[in-house]
Amino acid sequence: MNSAEFEQENQPRWQRLEEMIEGVEKGRAPENVEELPTLFRQTCHDLSIAQHRIFGMGLVERLNNLAIRGFRTLERRAGGGWESLFRMILVKFPKMVRAEWRLFWFCSFIFWGPFLAFAIWTPHDPEWAMSLLGPETMVSLETMYGEHTSPQDFIREEYGSDFMMFCHYINNNVGIDLRTFAGGLLGGVGALLILLFNGLQLGASTGYIHHACNPSTFYSFTSGHSAPELIGIVISGMAGMRLGLALLIPGLHDRKTALVLGGRKAMTLITGAVTMTFLAACIEGFWSAHPMEPWIKYTFGGVVWLITISYLALCGRRVADET
């Protein structure tokens, strides 16, 4: 059989497959769609024959394209949609954080170490923190939390400013999370630097507020959203480090495979971290700035910390591992 005869004999089948694929691509369910896998497999077989017998570039290319399109049509997934997202957040993510507990403590240390050091040291010797923060930050800290402010003041007065600040926190804080994750690909260095810098900056701010402002204004503002926000950035650091470590210490796999596998884990971590930061932005936008007795704010903050920690420590424990 030569190329032309082969083409003539099988042409109708290819045409049917092509029409079927076009139908599916357009979202219709063509007639006899259950035959699609069979037709696809037969066409794959035709492709092998055409390749083996060197039936010309045009024919092989046509069959090759048809096989790719058929494969893509069969491989289409409806996607788990919301269900898989919930499963990710309620089960996979907290499990992954617990499984990567070494990374969690390492990144926590990188973030909280400089934070606490600066927060505790600055009230005694504010010079370092002041040179790190710079005059502009100090002025804005003093206008928000200065000595003459009290927790009962309106921090935002204009209509709609809650919503604007919410969007600002999304843009800024989630952006930082995503950059921390991406920065991890540089052997972990980028993620670590961002964690370290944020730890320093926040620690210096806290210390400076103890030195020159009214700490109770500051704490009643931040207590509510601090848990998901601060743990969120530590976890996005973990996601970045997962990528970096896959590159540096691929272990049993070759480096490329290790990167792909590490990327999947990191994806779960960063999804969770972004969700936490999103919740933090909701609290920070719509709750934290409202004037209320400090004890209400502190109680709320304590509850959020408790919920966050028990979520990460307990959620999904009873669900068996996916194989």
Binding site: G58, F71, M164, C167, V260
Partner: protein, 240 residues
């Protein structure tokens, strides 16, 4: 066809069904053009979003308008490509206009998680400026993958929807068996020669067929026609 693998951007992939398909991966040059188009579209989007929210904030007040604008900027910056890549076409508008699409390394449609990873890691590929790291990475990987593609396990391929099938050229020659048995690769070389001959001038065809003088035993026009006869014989599987 060992030589073809070295000179072509065709990547052989073996599917679960045991059949081998070839993906034509796209190189850095065409991808840069696609990126440039997307970049211009993004700039236009930013400007349009800016104008819309200036108008919207007349009704909602400055603060809400500004907030919405920040939200839109955030989504555009991080998720512009993702939305299009997981869509039906599997390609951003820029890629589509260059006939490209994003796929998993096996040619399967790109998954949401893969698309998110490869686009979040753009910030790294962009370093130190103008996608230099991504370019270097592309040039050192067999499938032209930038770092984001490596982690997400994706490739950018030509979507290959061109329908203009070139009819195999008619050869006017007397079919004749080659004087010696040819290996598969040699047969393939002869058959490809005839298929591509349409693109060349007569002088070039003769020049190339002269190389085969040991096989045809002749040079010039007669060498070429003997060569054509042999390919005809091969195409007809040895029948007259």
């Amino acid at each position: 066809m060992a030589a073809a693998e070295l000179t072509d951007t065709l990547q052989a992939v073996e599917l679960a069904d045991g059949v081998e398909i070839h993906l034509r991966v796209a190189g850095p040059a065409v991808r840069s053009v696609a990126w440039l188009i997307d970049f211009l579209i993004l700039i236009v989007c930013y400007i349009v979003v800016g104008i819309i929210f200036v108008i919207v904030s007349r009704w909602t007040g400055d603060e809400i308008g500004q907030g919405l604008m920040m939200l839109c900027m955030f989504l555009l910056t991080w998720f512009y490509n993702v939305v299009f890549e997981v869509g039906a076409k599997g390609a951003s508008p820029g890629q589509r206009s260059m006939g490209l699409k994003v796929a998993g390394v096996s040619g399967a449609p790109v998954l949401l998680s893969q698309s998110i990873i490869r686009n979040l890691l753009r910030v790294i590929d962009f370093l130190p400026f103008g996608y230099l790291l991504g370019l270097v990475c592309c040039l050192f990987t067999k499938k032209f993958q930038r770092l984001g593609d490596l982690v997400a396990n994706t490739v950018v391929i030509y979507s290959g929807k061109k329908k203009n099938l070139i009819a195999p050229p008619k050869v006017n020659a007397e079919p004749s068996a080659p004087p010696v048995a040819l290996s598969r690769e040699e047969q393939a070389a002869l058959l490809l020669f005839v298929e591509r001959a349409l693109q060349w001038s007569d002088a070039r065809k003769i020049e190339l067929s002269n190389v085969l003088e040991p096989l045809t035993g002749a040079t010039g026009m007669s060498g070429l026609s003997r060569l054509a006869g042999m390919t005809l014989w091969l195409q007809n599987r040895g029948r007259k």
